[in-house]
C-alpha cells in the first residue's frame, strides 16, 4: 500500500507554492515519512521556519507550525523548546535564511546543543526573491546579483554545524529521496541539536542562470557529486575531488541544553548558588 501522506498534510492547503522541479516537495515528503516512522504526535510537534521558499513548508503540515521572520527560526524555536521541552521541535528553511541572516541564531543553537532538528534545504540561492547569491552559492556561479560570477567563497553548512557544536550532523540530497526520511528520523531521535543539510535544486532561479538544461540534469549532478561516507573511506583524495559526502557525518554525545537548565532549576530550588 502506498504511503499515506494525507494524515500529516493540512487539508485544503495544497497545491504548494514551489515551482515544478523544485526539490522542497521531496524534502516535505521525507519529513512526513520521518515523523510517521517515529509516530510523532502532531499536536506535540512544532515545525518552525524563517522566510523563503523552503520556509513555507510548515504551512502544509498539520502540526503546531510557526512561520517566523527572516532568519529567526532557530531563535523562536529555542524559545518554544525551552518553554516546552516535551515538544518535538523541528526547524526547516533554506540556506540564505539559515546561514546568512539567521547565521548567528544557527551557530548558537548548535553551541547550546538544544534538542531540536534543523532541516536545511540548500539550493545555493535565494529563490523567493528571484535568485540572488547566498552564502552557499559556489564560487564563480551566476546569480541575479553576481552577473560576472560569484566572487564569494561559500559555506559548508555541515562543517559549520559541526564546528559550532551540533551533535548530530548529516547530509542528504533531494535526489536520494529514500535517505532523507532516515536521516531526519535519526536526527529527531538524537538528544541534542541535529542538523540535516539536504542538497536541493532551484531550477527556476539557479539552474537556468547556470546553464543546467533541465531539472533532470540538476538532479543528476546531485547524484554524481554525492558520495556516502562509508564509500568515501575507500576512495583516494583524488577520487574525492569535487565530491560531497552524504550520510551521517558527525555524531557526538554532549549535555543537552534543556536538561542542563533543568539542573539550574534544581540548584536554584535547592538554594545553591
Amino acid at each position: 500500500m502506498a504511503f499515506d501522506y494525507e494524515k500529516y498534510i493540512r487539508p485544503g492547503k495544497l497545491p504548494h507554492i514551489w515551482c515544478p522541479g523544485c526539490g522542497h516537495g521531496i524534502v516535505l515528503k521525507g519529513l512526513i515519512r520521518a515523523m510517521d516512522s517515529l509516530n510523532l504526535k502532531k499536536e506535540e510537534t512544532a515545525i518552525v521556519s524563517g522566510i523563503g521558499c523552503a520556509s513555507r513548508l510548515p504551512g502544509y503540515v498539520d502540526c503546531c507550525t510557526l512561520h517566523t521572520a527572516h532568519g529567526r527560526a532557530a531563535a523562536f524555536a529555542t524559545g518554544v523548546k525551552m518553554a516546552r521541552p516535551e515538544m518535538n521541535v523541528i526547524l526547516v528553511g533554506g540556506d540564505g535564511d539559515g546561514t546568512a541572516i539567521g547565521g548567528n541564531h544557527f551557530i548558537h543553537a548548535c553551541r547550546r546543543n538544544i534538542d531540536m532538528t534543523y532541516v536545511i534545504m540548500n539550493n545555493y540561492i535565494y529563490g523567493m526573491t528571484g535568485g540572488q547569491f547566498s552564502p552557499t552559492t559556489p564560487h564563480m556561479m551566476k546569480a541575479s546579483t553576481t552577473p560576472y560570477g560569484n566572487p564569494d567563497p561559500s559555506f559548508d553548512i555541515a562543517k559549520l554545524a559541526i564546528g559550532a557544536g551540533a551533535t548530530f550532523v548529516a547530509r542528504g540530497t533531494a535526489f536520494n529521496a529514500s535517505q532523507i526520511d532516515k536521516l531526519i528520523a535519526e536526527g529527531i531521535q538524537h538528544k541534542g541539536m541535529s542538523v540535516i543539510e539536504i542538497l536541493d535544486d532551484c531550477p527556476t532561479t539557479y539552474g537556468r542562470r547556470n546553464k543546467y538544461k533541465s531539472v533532470i540534469e540538476m538532479m543528476n549532478r546531485l547524484k554524481e557529486v554525492a558520495v556516502p561516507v562509508k564509500a568515501a573511506e575507500k576512495m583516494t583524495a583524488e577520487q574525492l575531488q569535487g565530491k560531497i559526502l552524504t550520510g551521517v557525518l558527525f555524531k557526538a554525545d554532549r549535555p543537552e541544553y534543556c536538561a542542563e537548565y533543568q539542573k539550574v532549576i534544581e540548584r536554584a530550588k535547592g538554594g545553591a548558588k
Binding site: 493540512r10 492547503k13 502532531k42 499536536e43 506535540e44 512544532a46 518552525v48 510548515p58 504551512g59 498539520d62 502540526c63 503546531c64 507550525t65 510557526l66 512561520h67 517566523t68 521572520a69 529567526r72 532557530a74 531563535a75 523562536f76 524555536a77 529555542t78 524559545g79 518554544v80 523548546k81 525551552m82 518553554a83 516546552r84 516535551e86 515538544m87 548567528n104 541564531h105 551557530i107 548558537h108 537548565y261 539550574v264 532549576i265 540548584r267 536554584a268 530550588k269
Partner: protein, 377 residues
C-alpha cells in the same frame, strides 16, 4: 502581617513586578542600563521553575520570547535603545501575529550607541513608530520604583488582555534610582491570564473573530494545532492576500486597542483644578515637574501637571480638554521634542506650547521647568 518592603532599583522592581504577574520565561541580551532586570530574572525564575535564557543577540532574545509566549508562557525581555531598534521587526511580528509579551526598554541617550549610562526619553516615538506597518502600541512610562513594579504587572495584564506586545519604558534615572517599594500581596492587583479557546481543537482558529476583537489564543503543546505567520493572515492563521480580509484584519488589530482607549490610558493630574498652565510630563521628568509646579505655586502661579502614565495610546481626549482651558502648556522632555509633538496635535492651535529639552545625558532639573513656566503668557 505587614507588607514586604524593600529598598530597590527601578530595574529590580520591574523584575519583581514581572514575577508577581506570573512571568515564567525571560530571554534577554546584556545591555546597559537594563541589565539588572535580566540579572534578577536569572536568579528568581529557576527558583519558581521558570526559564531564563541569555540569547546570542537582541533579536534572538525577542524571538525566543515570542516562541515561548506561543507555548502559553508569560514572557519578558528587557533592553535599551540599540536593542529596541534591533527588535523592531519582531515587535511588528508580535503585533500582526498577536502574541502577548512584555518588553522593558530602559531609555538611554541615542541615536545609536549614544550615551549608555545617560538618561533619556528619546525612545517614546520608536515605541510606536519603530516597526513598519500599521499597528497599535501600548507603552507605559513609570515615574517611580513602585511604578516600575506596578506597571510591569499592568503590562502583562494588558498584553494578555489585548493579545499584543506591551512596552514598559522607564528612563535611566527611574531604572537605576532606588526607593522603598511595597511588594503586592497575592490578589492585591488582579492578574489577567490569557483567554484560552473554548472550542475543541478541530474547530479552533487563532484569529476567530466570533469571539470578539481579541480572539482566544491556544498554546502550542496544549492539544491545539494551528499556524502562525508574519504574513497577513485569515482567521484560521494562514496567509492571504485577499484585499477585504487583509483590510479587515489590519483594522481589527488597531481597533482592539483604540476602542478601549479609556480603559487603557492612565494618567495623574496634579494641582490641575484651577491651573492656567499645564506641564505635561512623564517618567523622571515628571518628578522635576512636580518640584517646579510646587515652587511656582509658592510664587502664586496657577500651574499644574498632567502626568502621562500611559504614553501610548496617547491621552488625546484629556489633553484636548486641557487645551480648551489653559493658556499654555510646558512640555519638558529628555529629547528634542517628542511628547510635545503629540501635545501640539491635541492642542489644535488653542494654547501656547513651550518645550524644555535636554539631551546631554544630565537630568532635566526643576529650575529649567520653572523658568519656562514663568515664560508662559
Amino acid at each position: 502581617m505587614s507588607k514586604k518592603v524593600a529598598f530597590l532599583q527601578g530595574n529590580e522592581a520591574a523584575a519583581q513586578g514581572a514575577l508577581y504577574a506570573g512571568c515564567n520565561f525571560f530571554a534577554g541580551y546584556p545591555i546597559t542600563p537594563s541589565t539588572e532586570v535580566a540579572e534578577v530574572m536569572s536568579i528568581e525564575l529557576p527558583k519558581v521553575g521558570g526559564k531564563f535564557i541569555q540569547m546570542e543577540d537582541e533579536i534572538g532574545a525577542y524571538a525566543a520570547v515570542l516562541g515561548a509566549a506561543l507555548t502559553g508562557k508569560k514572557a519578558l525581555d528587557a533592553t535599551s535603545g540599540p536593542g529596541l531598534s534591533l527588535k523592531q521587526e519582531l515587535i511588528g511580528y508580535a503585533c500582526i501575529a498577536e502574541i502577548p509579551c512584555v518588553l522593558i526598554n530602559v531609555m538611554r541617550g541615542g541615536p545609536s550607541t549614544g550615551m549608555p549610562t545617560g538618561p533619556s526619553q528619546s525612545d517614546v516615538m520608536a515605541a510606536k513608530w519603530g516597526t513598519h506597518g500599521d499597528h497599535a502600541s501600548i507603552t507605559l512610562v513609570p515615574a517611580s520604583v513602585q511604578e516600575c513594579y506596578d506597571m510591569t504587572v499592568q503590562a502583562f495584564n494588558l498584553a494578555e488582555k489585548f493579545r499584543m506586545p506591551v512596552l514598559v519604558m522607564p528612563d535611566e534615572i527611574i531604572a537605576h534610582m532606588r526607593e522603598r517599594i511595597e511588594f503586592r500581596e497575592p490578589g492585591e492587583i488582579e492578574i489577567i491570564n490569557r483567554t484560552e479557546p473554548t472550542v475543541p481543537p478541530a474547530e479552533y482558529k487563532p484569529y476567530d473573530t466570533r469571539f470578539g476583537d481579541v480572539p482566544p489564543l491556544a498554546a502550542f503543546g496544549s492539544g491545539y494545532k494551528f499556524h502562525v505567520t508574519g504574513l497577513n493572515k485569515m482567521q484560521d492563521g494562514f496567509p492571504t492576500t485577499k484585499a477585504e480580509i487583509v483590510q479587515a484584519e489590519e483594522e481589527r488589530q488597531v481597533r482592539k486597542v483604540m476602542d478601549k482607549v479609556d480603559e487603557i490610558v492612565d494618567f495623574e493630574e496634579f494641582k490641575m483644578d484651577d491651573a492656567e498652565i499645564c506641564v505635561v510630563a512623564y517618567g523622571s521628568t515628571s518628578r522635576s515637574a512636580r518640584y517646579a509646579v510646587n515652587a511656582a505655586r509658592e510664587k502664586g502661579i496657577k500651574v499644574g501637571m498632567f502626568r502621562l502614565k500611559t504614553f501610548w495610546p496617547f491621552p488625546d481626549k484629556q489633553i484636548k480638554a486641557i487645551a480648551a482651558k489653559v493658556k499654555g502648556f510646558v512640555v519638558p522632555e529628555m529629547n528634542l521634542g517628542m511628547c510635545s509633538v503629540e501635545v501640539e496635535r491635541c492642542n489644535e492651535g488653542k494654547a501656547q506650547i513651550l518645550t524644555v529639552n535636554r539631551v546631554d545625558g544630565e537630568p532635566l532639573n526643576p529650575e529649567q521647568i520653572l523658568v519656562k513656566i514663568k515664560e508662559v503668557k
